[in-house]
Amino acid sequence: MGTADLYISGVGTCLPGTVSVEQAVAVGWYPAEQAELHELGGAAVAGDIPAPELALRAARSAMVRSGRSPAELDLLLYASTWQQGPEGWPPHAYLQRHLALDRILATQLRQGCNGMFAALELAAGYLRAEPGRRAALLVAADNYGTPLADRWRMGQSYIAGDAGSALVLDTEPGFARLLSVCSASVSAAEEMHRAAEPLFPPGITEGRALDFAAHTERYRQRAVGDGTGTGVLVTVHQRLAEVIDRSLAEAGIAMDDVTRVAVMNHSRPITEQVCEAALGLPLSKSVWEFGRTIGHCGASDQVLALEHLVVTGELGPGDHLLMLGQGPGVVLSGAVVEIGYLPLWAQEYSAGALIPGNETSA
C-alpha cells in the first residue's frame, strides 16, 4: 500500500539495560559455541517491569515528541508476542487508562514479531477511512524474563530482548513520511512454529515453554522424514523478495535509494545473508551493529532501529529506511520510511541532552 500521505510525527522507546553475551556464557545461560557462531552482543533485560509498562513509557515519549494530545488520537493498536499480564486481561486497556484514550478504538494485535507492520497497515487504512481522523498510536512491548521463556535459547539464531516501542502515525506532516507498507504470507509454513507440540490443549495451559528452536527443528525433521521436503522454505524467500519489490515500488524508490535497512535483530550470519541475498546490500547498510547489543525485541526491532538511526544522525533528511519483518504464520512485511527533517528531540539527543525514551519515564 502506498502511504505517502501519512507521516510519523513521533517515535518513542523504552529500552532497559543490557546483559552481555559474555555474562550469559559465564553463568551458563548461553552456550559458548552459539556466542561464537552468531556474534551477538547481548540482550536488553527489563527485570520485573511489566511489558505494558514498557509500552506505556514508549507511548508517552512518542506522544510528547509528536505534539499530539490524547484527544487528537483516533486509534490505539498494541502489538505483542508474549504474555503481557493476567490471562484474559487486555494490555491496551492499561494504556487507554493512563493516556486518557477511552473514546477511541483500541485493540491488541498478536502477529508475532511482525505486529508493528500489521499495526502500520491497519492504521493507514483506518486513518484514511473517515475524513477528520488525525493520528494513530501504535505500540509494541514484551518482557521475556518470565517462566516458560528462555531468552537465550528460545530461537536458533537470536537472543530475545525486552523493550517497548511506539510511534504516532499521522495525517499531518511529521519528521518522517511512511511511503509504503505491505504484507504477504506463506501459510503452508505455519506448522514451522508449532511442530513440536499438539494444537490442543494449548501449550501454555500445560506449562510448555516458548521454544521456536524446537518447533523449527521438529518441522525440518518431519519434512525430510516424510518426504514433504523443504520447498516451502524456498517459497518464504520468494515471498520476501516479492514484499521487498512491492515495498520499494509502492514507495516509488529503487534499491539504490535505500539508505539503511532494518531487519529483525538476528545473528550476524543470518543478517548478512538476508542483506546480500535478498537486497544485494552489504551488512553495513543494516542496523546489525546496534541490534546485536539489545537482542531481538519482539515486534519492536524496527522502531527501535528507526529511533536509533535518527538520534545518532545515521539517517538524515531525504534518507530512506527500508524496514522488513517476519513473523510466525509465516507472515512477511516491508515498509519504507523517508526522513523529512531532523526533529528537535533528535537534535537534543545528539547534543547529549536526552536519552532516547527517557524524557517522560518515571
Binding site: 521436503g229 520447498g231 517459497t235 543470518i270 541475498a277
Partner: protein, 88 residues
C-alpha cells in the same frame, strides 16, 4: 560461463557449504535439495548470496520457486537462463 561450469560450481558450493557431512559422499548434481532438507531458510539465503556474488546473477522473486531448486542442476539451469536474458 557455460551451464556445465555453473552446474559444477553450484554442485561444489552446495556440497561443501550446505550439505550435512553424512550426506556429502553421495551428493551430486541430481541429489534432491528439498527432499533431503538441504535448503532451509538460512541455506537458501546463503545459496542466493553465492549466486549473486560469484555467478553475478540476481535471482528475481518470480524465479525463487521451489521448482528451480530441486537439485543443483536445476539451479544451474535457472542461473543460465537468467544470465542469458541479462543485458550484460
Amino acid at each position: 560461463m557455460t551451464t556445465a561450469s555453473e552446474t559444477a560450481a553450484l554442485t561444489a558450493f552446495i556440497r561443501d557449504r550446505l550439505v550435512p557431512g553424512e550426506l556429502r559422499d553421495r551428493f551430486d548434481e541430481t541429489s534432491p535439495l528439498l527432499e533431503w532438507g538441504v535448503l532451509d531458510s538460512v541455506s537458501t539465503a546463503i545459496l542466493l548470496g553465492f549466486i549473486r556474488r560469484e555467478l553475478r546473477v540476481t535471482v528475481p522473486a518470480a524465479q525463487i520457486d521451489p521448482a528451480n531448486f530441486t537439485d543443483a542442476r536445476s539451479v544451474a539451469e535457472m542461473v543460465g537462463r537468467l544470465a542469458a536474458a541479462s543485458p550484460d
